[in-house]
């Protein structure tokens, strides 16, 4: 019996993705780095390294340390800035026919708004992902993403500045992530993505110094998967907009679990370092799963958790 190729398309705001497999910001460079391993145009989307208005040097080294089934990073949002991104990085992605999501970051609401305005209308950009885990410089360094009011405000400001589909990326370092998700939904987000990294730390027992120059860093990788999956499930129940699941996804089975929990799409982060081809392999695995389970469309899988 010949089965039709299952329909993998998913929608985020006005943007239709070929399939739900995206890359996670900061783990896939600007796409070009992976071009010899992955057909960029086959992915649902390439989410690039977080971009700020001005270039940022990032934190002093050491910036990364391995932890049990995970890693801590304190890259410090090093990036080439919006101008160089548009002139040096985006053209390659456009040429490769990749669907591009730009991860944006700032220190103030103005930053976010100005950057969104700058990127608005640029051909080749499919959507923006707003990283609200950044410390709010004006509010004493507390992340925008930990306070529902601030989260809603920054979302609404960016919403005004652009017509691009808006994904707001949530931090897991909060008591109640569903409330934050509802706030950004109210602020006009087309989707939420989660989780960003869990705040962690590592110490060298010999030198008695932190292993990261920045002292604390963000935990990612398989270690965080159970927390991420729980949060995606909670948020998917709480909001009506699509949820993009992120956190410790290393293979198709992991990705499928997030889809079952209610994610419309998924992003793959740290796993790219372990296996640069993992995104395409996961895409194949999801397709096979749908075929084996005789599902005609990915929609039948999304949120299909049986309780």
């Amino acid at each position: 019996m010949a089965i039709e190729q299952p329909d993998l398309r998913v929608k985020i705001g006005g943007l239709t993705l070929r399939n739900p497999v995206m890359t996670a910001s900061g783990t896939f460079g600007y796409g070009e780095e992976f071009a010899s391993y992955v057909n960029l145009h086959r992915l649902g989307a390439v989410v690039v390294k977080g971009i700020s208005l001005k270039p940022r040097p990032g934190n002093p080294p050491p910036r990364i340390v391995e932890t049990p089934c995970g890693m801590l990073n304190a890259i410090g949002l090093e990036n080439v800035g919006a101008d160089r991104f548009l002139t040096e990085k985006l053209p390659y992605l456009t040429k490769a026919k990749a669907t591009v999501v730009v991860n944006v970051l700032g220190d103030s609401i103005d930053d976010y708004q100005n950057l969104a305005a700058k990127l608005d209308g640029t051909p080749g950009i499919g959507a923006l992902e707003i990283n609200i885990s950044c410390p709010n410089v004006k509010k004493g360094g507390v992340a925008f993403g930990t306070d529902p009011l601030m989260a809603e405000k920054v979302t609404a400001a960016v919403r005004k500045a652009t017509t691009l589909p808006l994904i707001v990326k949530l931090t897991p370092n909060v008591t109640d992530i569903a409330t934050i998700a509802k706030a950004v939904e109210a602020g006009g987000a087309d989707a939420v993505s989660l989780i960003n990294t869990l705040l962690g730390m590592a110490i060298d027992s010999k030198t008695r110094r932190p292993k990261l120059a920045n002292v604390v860093g963000g935990l990612s990788g398989p270690a965080v998967k159970p927390v991420a999956l729980r949060m995606v499930w909670q948020v998917a129940k709480a909001v009506k907009i699509p949820v993009v699941g992120i956190g410790g996804i290393s293979n198709a089975e992991d990705a499928i679990e997030f889809l079952i929990a209610g994610a419309t799409a998924i992003e793959i982060g740290t796993a790219n370092f372990v296996n640069p081809r993992v995104t395409e392999e996961i895409l194949v695995g999801i397709t096979e799963y749908l075929e084996e389970n005789q599902l005609e469309s990915i929609q039948e899988l999304i949120g299909s958790l049986v309780i």
């Binding site: 900061g26 783990t27 896939f28 460079g29 780095e33 992976f34 010899s36 391993y37 390294k49 040097p57 990032g58 002093p60 080294p61 050491p62 910036r63 990364i64 340390v65 391995e66 049990p68 089934c69 995970g70 890693m71 990073n73 890259i75 090093e78 990788g221 398989p222 290393s250 740290t270 790219n272 370092f273 372990v274 296996n275 640069p276 081809r277």
Partner: protein, 265 residues
């Protein structure tokens, strides 16, 4: 595109070269074909998710039959697991990665200075230089903790037609002291030298200091923690000398840098 990632590489030979030092020979034809001296590969150390990240290793030798060698010292969990690999096991390796040594065709003499596992890329480098039709002087100065760990490596250099000078920490072979002590003794002061070095930071700092004094050019191979090895994670940053808060990335801009591109402190 056929990548080494498509399937893991078979380990066809394992050698113990002294206390905690091992050499693995892997089948990886594409890497063997593409590799340049000073480049590295990223090696998976465990079947499970712990240790999670790959480990970088210099390409130590390549052979016409499509094999690649890495030389490794056990310093932690990942290298311990690799040391326990047996012939017939498969491990996942990808590369070659990074920017290797730049070798002039003529006009300079070349001195390779290696310390500890920094010797690894120099064997490949020496062979490459000799085969490139290079017409100057080529010497190798090698430093190790003790004679034991350098015996086989020394033979491999001799086999190439190079007669390396040895320095050991314990004096059990060659000069009792630092490998940098060997530089003035073996490098004619009135000629132009290019120094290519790989080893612990303090050793390379010593090498660079001498080179600066003598006005010799010098390329150094740096080490940092790496997650991706391919310029994506930005984890392997080191400061640029002109502005300490401006960074370059060892996996992509290096691992081999001009000595003037490095902050020596």
């Amino acid at each position: 595109m056929e990548h080494s990632l498509t399937r893991p590489s078979e380990v066809v030979r394992t050698e113990a070269l002294g206390r905690d030092i091992y050499r693995l020979t892997l089948v990886a034809p594409q890497i063997a074909e593409d590799a340049r001296p000073g480049q590295f590969v990223m090696v998976q150390t465990a079947a499970g998710k712990d240790p999670l990240l790959r480990r970088p290793f210099s390409i130590h030798q390549i052979a016409g039959n499509g094999t690649v060698q890495i030389l490794l010292k056990v310093v932690g969990r990942g290298t311990r697991l690799l040391a326990e690999t047996k012939q017939g096991d498969f491990i996942s390796v990808f590369g070659p990665l990074g920017k290797g040594f730049s070798i002039p065709k003529a006009g300079q003499n070349i001195c390779m200075v290696g310390g500890g596992m920094g010797i690894a890329p120099l064997l490949f480098l020496g062979k490459w230089i000799l085969r490139s039709g290079f017409d100057g002087k080529l010497i190798a100065l090698l430093g190790a903790r003790c004679g034991d760990e350098i015996t086989t490596l020394k033979e491999d250099f001799i086999h190439l037609g190079l007669h390396p000078m040895i320095a050991t920490d314990d004096g059990s072979a060659g000069h009792h002291g630092l490998v940098t002590d060997l530089m003035p003794r073996n490098m004619t002061p009135d000629e132009e030298w290019l120094v290519l070095t790989c080893g612990p930071y303090p050793m390379m700092r010593g090498v660079a200091k001498i080179c600066k004094q003598k006005n010799w050019s010098c390329q150094v191979s740096m080490e940092t923690m790496m997650a991706c090895g391919m310029g994506a994670c930005l984890g392997c940053a080191i400061s640029k000398p002109n502005d300490l808060h401006s960074y370059q990335h060892v996996c992509k801009d290096g691992p081999v840098f001009e000595m003037s591109d490095i902050v020596w402190r």
